[in-house]
Symmetry: C2
Subunit: 753 residues, 2 copies
């Protein structure tokens, strides 16, 4: 009964507010604000059949039980059976207009009060955002973490007041009126860019342009993967869309092309991106730097593309575009929406002046006049709240899903148990027993190879474990041998093939993690190429996404590829980054120890820097030691003559130097500093036990920048490292020529004694 | 006389070797190897008219004096008047085949000897590379730095043996046979990836994928800019093409899309890129991760595109494509060349097994057999050398150009003098007098604003000064107000509009610098977004490109934009990077001092971290002090009670803390640590004068990671900083809440006393 034509309803002039209008096709809705209940939609939830769509013509939004013909599967058809234009509901055009203007003015007023922020995007994007949040998306504002919600990403994160206004109007507790009025202030829930860790309802942290669209690809991948693994022909427990609004800036960034290429390749049909084509960037009109044909580019990337020519006013065109997007199931959809930045501002619309600064009192007043908005700042008319609040609708969505999930668990107990365990976000009991064990007798091996053994072992016991490399799988040793490739036809598989796209890989991995469905993901490339994905890794850290970054070829030890491929400053550069564990394990035991922490640390990402070359398993290393970050692997005395500190492949050198010094009668302790961040968390007493203040002769050795080591070796010690670029030669020649040798350690120790 | 059809000549079966065949249309060529001199081309160089093209049909390769109808100009026509297929010269097909196989086997043999490297690309790309180097490009092997040479970039740098083979065969002294046999060994001229600073003839350092194509855009931009500024209707002193070979990996990287979008936007008609479409990457067939329509994407980016379907054997198609590319003057050209990786290897061709590993003795033998190559390793038949050596042709090219330049200078003395000064690479005498002066009385200002004053001042006296921002010009304050924008129609202007494409910006800036024509270029974005371009900045440093990276909004001082925009670890991360100056000036004097060094340092790039907020000009700062990297701005005593160290905006806080401590009777020195790298170059005595060992109470304060400061504050001191992510709030609130205050410095100093 909702499959009426948008145009007919839009012109009907009905004046009552209907909650959750046009979003819920078959759900019972109940509003706290005065509403007209739609009795026809009050379907019984008595059994699975009862959960099926009420109207055939709305099948694409049914939470469960789509007919086989339209479900996503390896052999899915390209177009959904029915793609009716979405009903705009029985909301009067006046209330729709008011609702859209409410979004605009909340943004205008918040930016004005902060005298800081970006009003232009929310003003231009309010119509498409309204259609998304009020008529399209399913979510539960009172439980922002409800598993089966549609995901929304504002890739153009500077326009965050758009998102805060939407969350507020939809009824999220995270964004009350007082939060809006505290926009961009210390301690507020409404920071200057959307931050998932500050504001429930914000899925991912955006602002650095292009990250969001790549995160959205990760969210859509997670959905496609889980849907393929857990949904049954008669029961869908995973079924949501991922929506993204991105701007000119996002489209100029290379990361968006990388992510777009992958999304097209993977055929992520439930990813729908709306491009705010407003032709204005900070430097002025996009004509000065951005004249490519963006839509044609996305066509070339394998997307379905649509152009909405009048995004400021033509809601029906927006609705039709979104419905068309949903009807295309084998390709992601890119909707170019031509808008006017700062729409409604008589003197600043369509200029970069409205992009990133408050309008100013005079222009705010002129805009109020122009758009017919008589309300005081932050005031939202009741009928807008009534129209946009999703409290009751959201509760119903979740209740229906919970009920369906219960039935699923009953009918498919094994999958149900695994699924519930997975989405709980908790690791399965005893998972760590799967970790391989290494002893001093184990064959010497590169830590990248040991890493592969670990990855394959844990993938057997962690149902949510998946990941891949940026076209270096056979070098990074990251293939999960028991699984196939995640591809368009095989979305249930777990090896991700990112191609040579490090930046998108990192951001997609963040998206997979932030799907918050218990998936644990790793990505991989050469350690040097973290330079290509550094912005994404920083966002793993900032947004508390416990992604595992598997970075092999960790030093000059990679040899012949030369200085373009040899990390020098990278360990130091990540040790300086907050909330990330930078591991450089020395052997099998330490690699296992690093993985144990990385897997357990769901809110702190980890980087594992792994060797290309073979390393022996040293007597003193241990899984437990890694947890301390820095620990003694050889101990001669509480107060030795010398302490030698090392990480990774240089621990072997440290041990050799210690042996030599002992031969000369010295007492030597050797410490592995596998993870500085964990060492910093230890007690002062523990630190003193590893690095006694009274011992002046402390020598560190690491095949990389010495930056930061002075904190540990102290004024009397010496840091041996590589403070220049590498060179192309076999690894042995480099170690020798660059002085990364036991001889140099001995020399330095003696000089410090 | 050279405008014959390729096909007719190719089948003519002439057996003698002609030097510089098909490259030089109007130049006199002379070979050391047996050649047939082409008397018709021996044009007199008596006057400018004499330099005009011999044949109308080859006008596009004339060094000077193209007719008005075909010259590049603001109103240039899209297609050159004539675009005849290039003559393949009177070289027999056998010798052509042998020459191509010589390239292949030099690569095969070098990789085999090193047992390390990438033979697949050279084997597949040898035909297109042959057409480029032997029939198309103009260069002088005995002077690799001849200004007007065609530039070649191997963006797929792992295939560097292709480039080394070409340089060797063309007669470059940098790659002798013994160098080839030392491929990838310590101290060789033939490192594992092409390095401009190791191997004359290599223009840019490639290997990290996608960088090369972006460098090539920079090289082509430099040519277009200089051509627009210096060429005259009757005299061209700047006239060369930029060629680039890139692979699947380059095309997957986001940076190539960014750079491609800009090249299309700028209409760089003399940029010709050949895409080695071999369908194989390290993980296997590109089908697993790369199924977009690359050619359609480049169409969308505004390029002219061509597909050569048989790149392994169809030389005429390659020749025609390159000629067509040259005939299109208002767009860059993308030639997709379908090839077979490892062409000729009977068992490994068309597999990823041939990508990055030696073929192995057995397969090398089989490939010799298959391609009919009876020669021992590294042996090149005489007729191949005779065919490919460009010693004499190159000398002629340069001689002609020198002679033309002399005439140009005579006719246009002012432009001529400026041009010669520019390409000498030396700074104009007395340039530094243009630097603005600031005193303690100057109005407090943000260092980003001071930076703009400096940029505008030096642009007046440095004819090669140009640059721009990644869509943040009004925030970075980087606009050269006296100049317009470099655009398709206005290539003589000096403001570069990069759009939101930080990564390509950095790599394009490297390309502009490495054009080696005296251009000094800067790029700009927020300091945080160095994360997006870190790989390119690292290549500035590695390849000795003295690019100036202007990075504003340098700390939590940017305030409301929040943690996604607040650099924390960035100063530390660049201080760990070799060969780059990381400046954080505190005021006007220090900003000027930093620019003075940055501009003078043509082989070391600089980063200037500049404030968003206003800063006072402090009494003790100086331009000269900056040159020391760390220096005392306030000195109470040789051995004070306390030394306070700070940079940038925190120097003001340090001075305030010193005042307070003095009020309590302490002797305090205050040091500015504006550039650690320069401080490290000072003598031990100087360092001791700034940081006396006997003073234990050393306190550093910097609004960023404390990593590395312990080296300077020592065991007894304390580093105050921000070792966590920032937050969204006004800057003042952040400084207070994060403890970046004079109070905390005083507290720490007292605790250390």
């Amino acid at each position: 009964m909702q499959a009426v034509q948008a145009s007919s309803l839009a012109s009907a002039g009905a004046t009552f507010a209907a909650a959750a209008a046009g979003v819920s096709s078959q759900k019972n809705v109940q509003m706290s604000a005065p509403v007209c209940r739609r009795s026809a939609t009050k379907a019984s939830l008595g059994n699975f059949a009862g959960l099926r769509r009420v109207s055939e013509s709305r099948s694409e939004t049914a939470a469960f039980s789509q007919p086989a013909a339209v479900k996503r599967s390896a052999k899915k058809q390209g177009i959904r059976a029915t793609a009716a234009v979405k009903a705009p509901s029985k909301v009067s055009p006046e209330v729709v207009d008011k609702s859209i203007n409410a979004i605009r003015f909340l943004a205008i007023d918040a930016v004005e009060k902060a005298n800081s922020g970006h009003p232009g995007l929310p003003m231009g994007c309010a119509p498409m955002a309204y259609v998304l949040f009020n008529e399209t998306m399913k979510f539960n504002p009172k439980n922002p973490y409800w598993f089966n919600r549609d995901r929304f990403v504002l890739s153009a994160g500077h326009g965050c007041m758009l998102q805060y206004a939407l969350l507020h109007l939809a009824g999220y507790d995270s964004v009350k009126t007082e939060d809006l009025s505290q926009f961009r202030q210390w301690g507020s829930k409404t920071p200057g860019h959307p931050e998932n860790f500050e504001t429930p309802g914000v899925e991912v942290t955006t602002g650095p342009l292009g990250q969001g669209i790549a995160n959205a690809v990760g969210l859509a991948l997670a959905e496609a993967h889980l849907a393929a693994r857990y949904n049954k022909p008669d029961a869908k427990v995973v079924d949501h869309y991922t929506y993204c609004i991105l701007g000119d800036g996002c489209n100029m960034e290379g990361i968006s092309n990388e992510a777009g290429s992958l999304a097209g390749h993977w055929g992520l049909g439930k990813l729908i991106c709306l491009y705010d084509d407003n032709k204005i960037s900070i430097d002025g009109h996009t004509d000065i730097a951005f004249t490519e044909d963006v839509q044609a580019r996305f066509d070339a990337l394998g997307w379905h593309t649509i152009h909405v020519e009048e995004g400021n006013t033509d809601l029906d065109a927006l609705r039709k575009a979104i419905d068309e997007a949903k009807s295309v199931t084998d390709k992601p959809t890119f909707i170019k929406v031509s808008t006017t930045i700062g729409f409604g501002s008589p003197n600043k619309a369509n200029t970069h002046g409205v992009h990133g600064a408050a309008l100013g009192g005079k222009e705010v007043a002129a805009t109020r006049e122009n758009l017919g908005w008589p309300y005081e700042p932050f005031k939202v008319p009741d009928e807008v709240y009534a129209n946009m609040d999703k409290t009751d609708a959201g509760a119903e969505y979740e209740k229906d899903w919970e009920s369906a999930l219960a039935k699923y668990v009953e009918k498919y107990p094994e999958e149900g148990a695994e699924f519930k365990q997975l989405i709980s976000g908790k690791l399965p009991e005893g998972w760590e027993k799967a970790l391989p064990e290494f002893t001093t007798d184990s064959a010497a091996d590169a830590t990248r190879n040991i890493s592969q053994t670990v990855l394959n072992a844990v993938a057997n016991v962690l149902p949510g474990f998946l990941g891949g490399s940026a076209d270096l799988a056979p070098s990074n040793m990251t293939l999960l041998k028991q699984f196939g490739d995640f591809q368009k036809a095989t979305p249930a598989e777990r090896n991700l093939r990112y191609g040579v796209r490090e930046h998108a890989m990192g951001a997609i991995a963040n998206g997979i993690h932030l799907h918050n469905s218990g998936l644990i993901t790793y990505d991989a490339t050469f350690f040097i190429f973290t330079d290509y994905m550094r912005a994404a890794i920083r966002l793993s850290a900032l947004s508390e996404a416990g992604v595992i970054h598997v970075m092999t070829h960790d030093s000059i030890g990679l040899g012949e590829d030369g200085p373009t491929h040899q990390p020098i400053e990278h360990l130091a550069s990540f040790r300086a980054m907050p909330n990330i564990y930078m591991f450089r394990p020395a052997d099998g035991k330490e690699t296992v120890g690093a993985y144990k922490i990385a897997i357990e640390s769901r809110k702190t990402p980890s980087i594992l820097a792994l060797s290309r070359q073979k390393l022996p398993h040293l007597p003193g290393t241990s899984v437990e030691g890694v947890a301390k970050g820095g620990y003694l692997v050889e101990k001669d005395a509480d107060k030795p003559d010398v302490v030698i500190l090392a990480t990774g492949s240089e621990l072997e050198i440290a041990v050799a130097a210690a042996k030599e010094l002992r031969g000369e009668g010295k007492k030597v302790n050797v410490a592995s500093f596998v993870c500085w961040e964990l060492f910093e968390k230890q007690s002062p007493e523990y630190k003193e036990s590893v690095l006694p203040k009274s011992v002046k002769a402390k020598v560190s050795i690491e095949a990389g920048s010495t930056q930061g080591w002075h904190k540990y070796v102290g004024d009397g010690g010496k840091a041996i490292g590589v403070d220049h670029f590498g060179a192309s030669a076999p690894a042995g020649a480099l170690y020798k020529n660059f002085g990364i040798t036991a001889e140099k350690v001995v020399e330095a120790a003696k000089a410090s004694l």
